[in-house]
């Protein structure tokens, strides 16, 4: 009898954890989004679906903007992370561990602090723009801080390792002889990359997209620190609805909507491009 119960006992710690810190908050939040009232007089569950309609109508701009920022960030991440992962996997040799450590090193400093340091780099007379303006290469009115560029830059910076690592893992698994085989079969270095290395790395890219698109779209720090009112993302709206306006139902409704949109997006993405198919498409 004991061995039959064993699997369930093994699930118990993690299962309880998820129940307590995932299922319970989710149910609470769902219930909160359907309540009416205010902080002073308390909230009553009324099943008020109109909150969703109003929240989506009022914050449609921020929601769409967040998804666009998330998408641009993800694309830029692939472009930036692939060469890094490629270098470490194929040229890292004995220093692979060192390179991976260097990649993660900045992340020992708090997320917020690192983002704030980007303010100093990007500020109008800062170390980046200052000299360029002094040299007359940029107009004095030129600025990056407060623009979508700054926000997306911050997002790309903060999520880089989450794209590099899965791609690195996929590249690392490629047998170098397979690449040599492609070279032997009349493929130039570029063609060997396109026909063999890239298709074999796609599962890593696929995983990287999942790991970055979702958190980047719902991020609220980068826009708050590096952006302006014209770059407000949905994460910031939710945060201020909770903590500033104390409008719990709207905040909950927005959270649920964001989650639903991202989940649907991710599922559609996974269905449309299962890793097997991804490779086959790319190999054509």
């Amino acid at each position: 009898m004991r061995h039959r119960l064993a699997p369930y006992l093994l699930v118990l710690p993690g299962g309880l954890w998820l129940l307590l810190f995932f299922v319970v908050p989710m149910v609470t939040m769902l219930s909160l989004s359907l309540q009416e009232g205010d902080v002073v007089n308390g909230y009553v569950l009324t099943g008020h679906w109109q909150t969703y309609v109003d929240a989506i109508t009022n914050y449609r701009v921020q929601l769409v903007r967040s998804l666009i920022y998330g998408a641009i960030t993800t694309v830029l991440l692939i472009v930036a992370a692939f060469p890094v992962a490629y270098f470490i996997a194929f040229y890292g040799r004995r220093r692979k561990a060192t390179f991976l450590f260097l990649l993660l090193l900045p992340f020992f400093v708090s997320f917020v602090l690192r983002t704030i340091s980007w303010r100093y780099i990007l500020t109008d007379e800062g170390i980046l723009l200052g000299p360029l303006k002094d040299a007359g290469l940029l107009a004095d009115s030129f600025h990056i801080l407060g623009t979508p560029v700054a926000v997306i830059l911050g997002l790309v910076y903060n999520f880089l390792p989450f794209m590099v690592l899965p791609i690195y893992v996929a590249l690392e698994r490629i047998d170098p002889r397979v690449v040599e085989a492609a070279r032997d079969l009349y493929a130039s270095p570029l063609l060997a990359f396109r026909k063999v290395v890239f298709p074999l790395a796609l599962p890593g890219v696929f995983a990287g997209v999942l790991m970055t698109f979702v958190p980047a779209s719902s991020d609220y720090v980068n826009s708050a620190v590096l952006g302006s009112s014209s770059t407000t993302m949905i994460g910031q709206v939710i945060q201020s609805q909770y903590l500033v306006s104390s409008n719990y139902p709207t905040a909950s409704a927005l959270s649920f909507t964001l989650m639903a949109v991202l989940l649907i997006g991710v599922f559609a993405y996974a269905r449309a491009l299962g890793t097997e198919d991804v490779m086959k498409v790319a190999a054509r």
Partner: protein
Amino acid sequence: MSDTAAIELVGVHKDFLSHGDTVQAVKPTDLAVGQGEFFSLLGPSGCGKTTTMRMIAGFEEPSGGTVFLDGNDVTGVAPHKRDVNMVFQSYALFPHLTAYQNVAFGLERKKVAKDEIRRRVGEMLEIVSLTGMEKRSPREMSGGQQQRVALARALVNGPRALLLDEPLGALDLKLRQQMQIELKRIQREVGITFVYVTHDQGEALTMSDRIAVMEGGRIDQLGTPREIYEKPATRFVAGFIGTSNLLDGSVDSVTGGVALLVFGPEEKVLVPVPASVTDGAKLEISVRPEKIDLSRDAPAAADCSVLTGTVREVVYHGTSTNYTVRTSAGADLVVFDQNAYSAEDLAGPGDRVYLTWSPQHSYPIGVRP
């Protein structure tokens, strides 16, 4: 064989830097492989055979010397521009492609017409007996089948030469022997030059037209399987190819091109030698175990080599029985006796025995004519 060698290496060597020291993985080597020849590079791991092959394929650039393919200098030419194809030790099939796509890969890169590709891939899959497996992915195939895909993938391009890097190393014995015969058949069928890298001397002996035995980055001996087995040029070759008995001694007299070495009152070794060998010369003589007769009675014939000794070990091998005999000449000799007529052992441990063989079955190692 036509006049131009399919592959020719002239003074090719490869130096590696290791811990600040230059190590010659391949010492300056000259080598010519004929058209349509089955040529083996045989040696233990680290002897430079794989590096030599990779220099032919273009994956390693020689530190010096010239590589010719069909008479054209290809030194410094990138692998994808060389008309040779390789079968890798671990097969290195493209895991994301089907068997068909794997085989078609090279032809697609060469921009061969679609119909032509379909025809040639189909033909090649038939030659390697994989018809019907087109849509399988490498993961869904057995080791032997993957091996055939790797072979077909290289051969379908009709290369000037096919380079095979220990292609059967990962297969079990039965399958390996079957593939040896098959490889030989395919080579005859397609008529392409094969350069075969292996550490398995049995494999090299059965399959090759010629063998280059390599050791320490150098070719020790180059010849037909028969030459290499019967007349090993160095002590290393004698020991690496099959089992060999080595005897050291000095020449007492030479008559009619045959040297006499006396080891005792009734013990002597007769060995054919070149004219450069004179009285007093030190010789190292190789005798193959299956050439030696073992008997408890003194031999009748006078014109053969005779040694006496004590049997130390008798091992029954099914087709033969192997005896280890400590001789008065100072060396332990191994004797293989075919179990053709008698299931009885010729002698037991501790027995005094006579070992005899005819002069032409022994060979002085490393003596230049």
